[in-house]
Symmetry: C2
């Protein structure tokens, strides 16, 4: 195997998920679910009853355990390492906490050019060793044929958290910095992007077979703003991932950004449920794989509805190689586990 | 003048706004702004310091005053009556309140088929006389050439409030009812639509020259769900507005719904900022007028940025008759008034 993908065995290479990333035919449509190891699962809530969210992220044995448990329980076709997109901002000098409901709180948000200057370059990614250790342990514990996905937040989404100090409704501070001081904005995005490049490649070295960029909040931008303020940075991260490692590029609210996200890069473009999969795939081009796109709220309906909606999406994919089934965003905390299992079963039926 | 548009003088008919609604050339691009009489205005805050939001809505003299003050202060090309989209749900038997931050709270949300059965048909629209009285007073106080826009929430957005009991992040209750009990869903949407038809036409009778449907939250739906659960109802409201009265049909997060919104109807389709105006206009067709679409957050940047963004949108409209300038959503509470005035000035420069 090539040096860039140190853990890619033949069995992993030929797994349905990895074949779909390369747009090769697979025996069935592979499925995994964003936040598949989340709060909707009793096993996860049990572990969390003993520690905080951040402690869990920083305890490799347990992060590996919840990662593997979810995969085994659901029978999905890929694992994604249990971690948080904001872990990378701590070595930048950002003070991160999580409030009761798991919402992130940043105690020293960046608001000005001077604040940007104070951000620390992430020269040494070793401060995130707990993530790489969790990946190593997960890789050892996982069935040998099951791919493990590493991930990071995309530069825009991370910048929006760092600037707003948490979640945001309107992204006023983020856009104000972007519009009024584009020099500081681009400097910050470049610093974040350099850190992400190191972070993703270290996850690959530790045992991830693919990586995903989550640009969860990029849908708040106009297409022109995306092109000017975001695209070059996302592109630089994606193009710096080790060759041979599939990159999944996901965002929500991106119905008008799909062509630009494709331009930014990725072997697999992830959609939310607001677009029709056939139309979205046509727009990004059939020479790229796609991922999606069941509305996570569909899982709150009855099983018949879940099965019918899964079928509809499979029909839109029309058996074209290169479709990875997923939700259009993360599983919601109150989702009935039985419905999630019914979904996985239905997708595997084809 | 035709009987259906009792207050349409020649002067109003030939105003830039009304001409744009009919896609006729106007001397300059008309502009008005959603929530132009809102909290960002000191004059409005002064009135509000004396009473609650609902009291203001129900006091015709003052509702007319804030409506007219905003128009005169900003120099915009249309007034929109000061009111709230949720006023219409009170005569349905829904108990409505507004919490401190002006967020609506519904004390008896609809969750089941039995709850839907308990909703009251709005046979007599006279319980909303305070709105019609505010329209009459506004029409008298406004410059005779300035059109007055009446409005309502679109059926989906109203249903989502009635079901969720307020704002929502994921619309779980709304979609659960929609998916699991489509009979109850359609019955509720039909009842809302019948009420809206009466409500809009009564606003026209009282003095409105045009009406707008706000489908603010419809962007949470997939295109297939929009077609099945929403489109027929919105269509029935729009098609029942008195002939000769332009209907503006607006939503946010609708980048994948534009063709379907056009199908549902409207003389003017309103976009948010997430789509490029030229591309969106192409998609809905040049045989309909359009409204939009500056990001409300752009108004938090410096004046040069505001002017440049306004110019960009005017360029996308390319001088084609039928463009009404607006924000992509309502003005935000902390918006600097000076920037709003600079925007109006820049749009009028052409």
């Amino acid at each position: 195997m090539p040096e860039n993908t140190p853990h890619l065995t033949d069995e992993l290479r030929e797994s349905p998920f990895m074949r779909a990333c390369r747009r090769q035919p697979a025996p069935y449509t592979p499925i995994w679910l964003m936040r598949q190891a989340g709060r909707y699962m009793p096993e996860y809530r049990e572990v969390r009853s003993r520690m905080s969210f951040l402690e869990l992220c920083k305890t490799p044995d347990l992060a590996a355990e919840v990662t593997v448990t979810a995969v085994e329980r659901l029978g999905v076709d890929a694992a994604i390492i249990f971690a948080d997109i904001l872990l990378i901002i701590e070595p930048m000098g950002i003070e991160l906490g999580f409030a009761g409901g798991d919402g992130p709180v940043i105690h020293n948000p960046v608001r000005s050019s001077a604040d940007v200057d104070r951000l620390r370059e992430v020269d040494d990614i070793a401060s995130l060793n707990f993530v790489f250790e969790a990946i190593r342990k997960t890789r050892q514990a996982l069935a040998p044929g099951l791919p493990l996905i590493g991930f990071c937040g995309a530069p825009f989404t991370l910048a929006s958290y760092i600037i707003e100090g948490g979640g945001s409704k309107n992204y006023i501070n983020t856009k104000r910095l972007m519009y009024n001081d584009s020099g500081a904005w681009h400097a910050m995005m470049a610093l974040i992007s350099r850190a992400l490049t190191k972070y993703l490649n270290a996850q690959v070295d530790a045992g991830a077979q693919a990586v995903q960029l989550f640009d969860s909040w990029v849908g708040c931008l106009s297409p022109d703003d995306y092109r000017e303020y975001v695209l070059p940075h996302t592109q630089s991260v994606i193009s710096s991932v080790a060759p041979g490692v599939p990159v999944l590029h996901f965002g929500t609210g991106t119905a008008a950004l799909l062509e630009l996200m494709r331009e930014a890069g990725g072997d697999v473009i992830g959609f939310d449920w607001r677009v029709r999969l056939d139309q979205a795939w046509e727009r990004v081009g059939h020479d790229v794989a796609v991922m999606g796109n069941l509305d996570p709220v569909s899982l709150f309906a009855n099983v018949e509805h879940v099965r019918a909606e899964a079928k509809k999406i499979l029909d839109y994919a029309a058996g074209r190689p290169g479709h990875i089934f997923n939700l259009g965003h993360g599983i919601l905390p109150e989702t009935p586990v039985a419905n999630v299992m019914a979904l996985v079963e239905r997708v595997h039926e084809g």
